[in-house]
Amino acid sequence: MIGMTNEELQKIINSWFPSSISTTKVTEVSVENEISETKEPESTNGLEFTEEGSQFLNITVQPELLYQLMSQLKNNKETHFDYLFCLSGVDWEITLGVVYHLESTDHRHIVVVKVHTEDRENPTFDSVYDIWSTAEFHEREVFDFFGIKFNNHPNLKRLFLTDEWDGYPLRKDYVDEINMVIK
């Protein structure tokens, strides 16, 4: 593996986002856990890095920073993640989210970006189709099966299922008593 190590990647990505305390982050933390808010409010620049339980560097990003982070990852010469090789929707029971697997075709380093929201009624993220063209189809697939909407997407409608299909089948709480065999 050539290219940057995970530590170098983490350092450069952090440098794009000065740790100004984003207000939404603090309110979210305070809802979950009031103690952690008073403990470490200075480290919240909207990004969380981890390598635990994965072979790649994982970045969890706040939804409002997603587009900014993604365009930096693609356009910055040092990172240059020009290949979006996998885009998956995931239902984490409480939250819904999207996982982006990115690779750079000249540096050959890999990073995984995750974004999620607790809003299950109307989950919405920014579309990245204008950064990677392949995202247009993949985001439609995620919309079709998870009901996640993407802002600015040029053609966001059902891809595999019919328009009148009820519900989003890959969500964990989807019920279809006729077609699903539950063991």
Binding site: E52, F85, S88, S133, L161, T162, L170
Partner: protein, 373 residues
């Protein structure tokens, strides 16, 4: 008189036509909504889902051994390689040490699969552009490979030969001899493919300069396999992320820079030679040893996320597993090569004629169950 016709009130108007879901050139139930002006294509919009089986949802209730069987039904022409993708993910997650014998046999059968897939592609692609003979040539040679598979795996198409931990059973005693016979046979037949079709002037005029895809667009659209390599984009998973025995063999990654349908065609023809070279390096040196390592009857992956990728005949297949430590994956995503390759069809077809669309689509080598997982 000519000028009066040209200046008359004829107005060209855009209109829709349906191509598919039942159409010989879509090779399966794919429906394309074409917006055309005369015969010039303005927009191609695929309508998918005619054979979607929701394999990803089924995987969430299946054990890891069962999931392997479902992957046959995605890209059925690369069934062995699809099986391998899931097995590799599970084995790497469990950190199993796989015997060299297994790795070598998997690689040989994987390359035979690639040749079988490419011969079938070559046959039907020739037929798509009007050369019916290629169909019979292609199927004749593919049949020999299917016979080898049948003897060793018990199946010709949906092979299920890989299991997490190795192979379901050892190779048939005839396997080595028959594979060598095939290579010998195919080395005399592959040049015939070139004489029959590649050098044909009508064919070349039909293919060259049609459906051009630039390298930047190929990367942006997530193209992989021969589609990406026809545009000069080095995307061979066997080279960049070697698995099984690919780090032990020497072979060339076939690259062309033209990016048109003829470049994608040439890449696949040349890849068959490379596949034969890989098989020849391994067939006499299959290491002795076990054909599988023992795994628990119930496989539970440790909590975490796993991603593995392989090079199928169509391109990069990715398997993304999120495990919570139970016997089923919490979420399993297949990143299929056909899905990304289809997404660029509109881009390369706009501005061309309907006949060019058929040629472009033929060199994308779409297998519909791979798109409708």
């Amino acid at each position: 008189m000519e000028t009066t016709i040209a200046n008359s009130n004829f107005k060209s108007e855009e209109y829709f036509i349906n191509m598919g879901p039942q159409h010989p050139a879509t090779h399966g139930v794919l429906r394309l909504l074409l917006t055309i002006d005369g015969e010039i294509i303005k927009k191609v919009e695929p309508d998918l889902g005619y054979i979607h089986r929701s394999i990803e949802k089924m995987c969430e209730r299946d054990s890891y051994q069962q999931i392997v069987h479902l992957t046959d039904r995605m890209d059925y022409l690369s069934s062995h390689i699809n099986n391998e993708a899931v097995c590799l993910t599970v084995e790497n997650a469990l950190q199993l040490e796989i015997p060299d014998r297994v790795k070598v046999i998997r690689t040989i059968i994987g390359e035979l699969t690639r040749i079988a897939s490419h011969t079938l592609w070559w046959g039907v692609m020739g037929m798509d552009v009007g050369a019916l003979t290629t169909y019979f040539y292609g199927f004749r040679d593919r049949e020999m490979i299917n016979d080898i598979f049948e003897e060793t795996c018990g199946a010709r198409l949906t092979m299920n030969y890989n299991i997490p931990g190795g192979l379901m059973f050892d190779i048939h005693p005839n396997f080595v001899k028959r594979t060598k016979d095939f290579i010998k046979h195919f080395k005399t037949k592959l040049p015939e493919y070139d004489t029959l079709l590649t050098g044909n002037v009508i064919f070349q005029k039909r293919m060259k300069g049609v459906g051009i895809l630039s390298k930047e667009d190929a990367i942006s659209f997530g193209a992989s396999g021969p589609v990406g390599r026809g545009s000069g984009y080095s995307c061979d998973v066997r080279k960049h992320h070697p698995y099984s025995a690919y780090d032990k063999v020497s072979f060339n990654e076939v690259l062309r820079t033209e990016g048109d349908t003829f470049a994608r065609y040439s890449v696949r023809i040349q890849e068959m030679w490379e596949s034969m070279a890989i098989i020849e390096q391994l067939i006499d040196n299959i290491p002795e040893g076990d054909h599988q390592v023992a795994t628990n009857a119930v496989i539970k992956l440790p909590k975490g996320e796993y991603y593995e990728r392989v090079e199928t005949a169509r391109g990069e297949l990715g398997v993304y597993i999120i495990s919570t430590g139970t016997k089923n994956p919490y979420r399993l995503k297949f990143r299929s090569p056909g899905f990304s390759n289809l997404s660029l069809l509109n881009h390369i077809a706009v501005g061309g004629k309907i006949g060019d669309l058929v040629a472009s689509m033929a060199t994308l080598d779409l297998v519909i169950p791979d798109i409708d997982r």
